[in-house]
Symmetry: C2
Subunit: 339 residues, 2 copies
């Protein structure tokens, strides 16, 4: 970026511009081996323990949406970032930035759902902070959560994908695009009626069950901003492997598909908040699917593709009509303030 450049909405998209900003600004100046890895959680050594550490701010608009609210989202998002790093999520911090005049009962509803979600995910909210800014200086409520978890040495590679190799299978635990489309439909200005519900959920128990029953997992990542496509495109580039995806095998709810078609969105780029991409050795993929299918949050899990030695650095989709197209990271901003 040039000095005279301005920050664009796309710099917060989770896609190409976000990656550029991170590399050219944050990684450049903060320079250290943890940030260089550009994973969602940093894996730290404190004395003799491996600790996973992550943070996210939440600015979703509207703050209440079908399937959740900004508070539930903040817990799920941070729990999931720790879980996909191979860690057991333990402790959460919560920072609130509140607009003067915000309703106490709305705040209480949000705090209650954070408490419930934390209980469900087995984490404790142990420290926090509250700032209030004058009316008009923020939009209702922003929440930041950071989380720490404990991680066994044998799982420390999972967030990075350093053991990925051709033949590994790519699994998703269910329907894609629900969160993004649910939030979009909930925006008042659109005046849309829909029955789409966000998939916002903590995946820690589900992921813990898989990690305990197989050693074959080589990568996990929750597909939030930028969707499934951005995770796969980024991974292919970073690990210089080829990724092959079968479009027909990607689970999309009919109402999400129609809504996407109407608005010109590709469901593979739409944000999820309860979806994890799991890459695993071929011989363990069947066992992983079995475990996923037993859980409410993995009922619709399926294999959507595999790692290949063809076209290293690229993720390709085999489309339903027989063609092939390349998956790139999300360019620009699709849906501002989706999380």
């Amino acid at each position: 970026m040039k000095k005279e450049d301005k920050i664009l909405l796309g710099h917060g998209s989770g896609g190409k511009l976000s990656h550029e900003l991170i590399s050219r600004l944050f990684v450049k100046h903060f320079q250290n081996p943890w940030l260089d890895k550009q994973t969602d959680s940093a894996i730290l050594k404190i004395q003799d323990e491996n600790i996973a550490f992550t943070t996210d701010s939440y600015v979703v608009d509207p703050i209440f949406f079908p399937g959740g609210n900004i508070g539930k989202l903040a817990i799920c998002g941070t729990v999931n970032d720790l879980a996909v790093a191979g860690a057991v999520p333990l402790y959460i911090s919560a920072g609130f930035i509140i607009e003067e005049g915000f309703s106490f009962s709305d705040l209480e509803a949000i705090v209650k759902s954070m408490a419930e979600e934390a209980k469900r995910a087995g984490v404790k909210i142990v420290t926090g902070d509250t700032k209030v800014v004058n009316r008009g200086k923020c939009d209702k409520l922003f929440i930041n959560t950071a989380g720490v978890g404990s991680i066994e040495n044998k799982n420390a590679h999972i967030g990075e994908g350093s053991l990925i190799r051709p033949g590994d299978q790519i699994i998703i635990n269910g329907f894609v695009g629900d969160h993004g489309m649910a939030v979009l439909a909930a925006r008042e200005e659109l005046n849309i009626r829909s029955d789409i519900t966000s998939d916002c959920a903590s995946l820690s128990t589900l992921i813990n069950n898989i990690l305990h029953s197989t050693d074959g997992i080589t990568f996990m990542r929750d597909a939030t901003r930028g969707g499934v496509a951005t995770v796969l495109a980024e991974l292919a580039g970073k690990r210089q492997v080829g990724i092959h995806i079968e479009e027909d095998s990607i689970p999309v709810r009919p109402q999400v598909r129609s809504f996407c078609e109407l608005l010109g969105f590709d469901p593979m780029y739409v944000a999820n908040e309860g979806k994890v991409l799991i890459i695993a050795r071929k011989e363990t993929a069947g066992e992983i699917l079995k475990i996923l299918h037993r859980d409410e949050l993995g009922r619709e899990a399926r294999i959507i593709g595999h790692i290949t030695s063809d076209h290293p650095g690229r993720a390709w989709v085999q489309t339903s009509i027989g063609g092939k197209r390349i998956l790139d990271m999300l360019a620009g901003e699709q849906l501002p303030r989706i999380c």
Copy 2:
């Protein structure tokens, strides 16, 4: 608070209303032994290690002020919260909420000063997040930092003050009120000329030096929002000890004192960002002062009072004209967006 109540600026003041909100909302719903303690850092056990964990969001206005900027402040604040808990600050997370159109060069200047301050304080910024919101939906830039540090068992009581007893001496490491008055004077709308500079600084090295040379420290707290008075009033109430302060011994720069008088502020309630209150056994206070005086950040350190068995639960100030007045927590909001 009643259901129909609204959030006021005072709920973010760090004073009485903040404490009420924390107790009646966050502590009530998140309920766990860490939050119950209402310290700035939670002390956690992960496997066999004691970890300190803290978070703060920064919404200071203006984002650049004499002596620092929002980024330097975010590092110092979180480093200090860990240090006063008796921990060695190690790792920091950084979450940015940026207004669309914000200047890249301003952001880079802020990020650079975060990198410099992190280096100075000996911490690594290991994980982060960037959100961009539409123009007008936040005020330029908000930053959240969370931090983790390692803490020895023997220091785990320091953040709580559980070993405080009558006779302990109360020390401050220098002039009070600089940060609050520097930020206030920097507000364009006031059109004030002043040479007051924020005391924004990382106290980790200073505190580490003291902790390594004495075991006599019974409490530490950085006196940020709500100032020295709020820390002392809160502590007296929580530990049911009496606190006696000599007004004449509190170091206040002449220009800060005049500015405070002009605006009707009491310097004891004004925010600091590089000031720590240290309570220690009488026999070690002299040694602590010596160590403080050797450091740039403790040059003006002095004893300002002591713990007494009189008036338990109350902090009193002996005024210079011979009277006595009670110190209470900051009521309402003195200076919104001071940190």
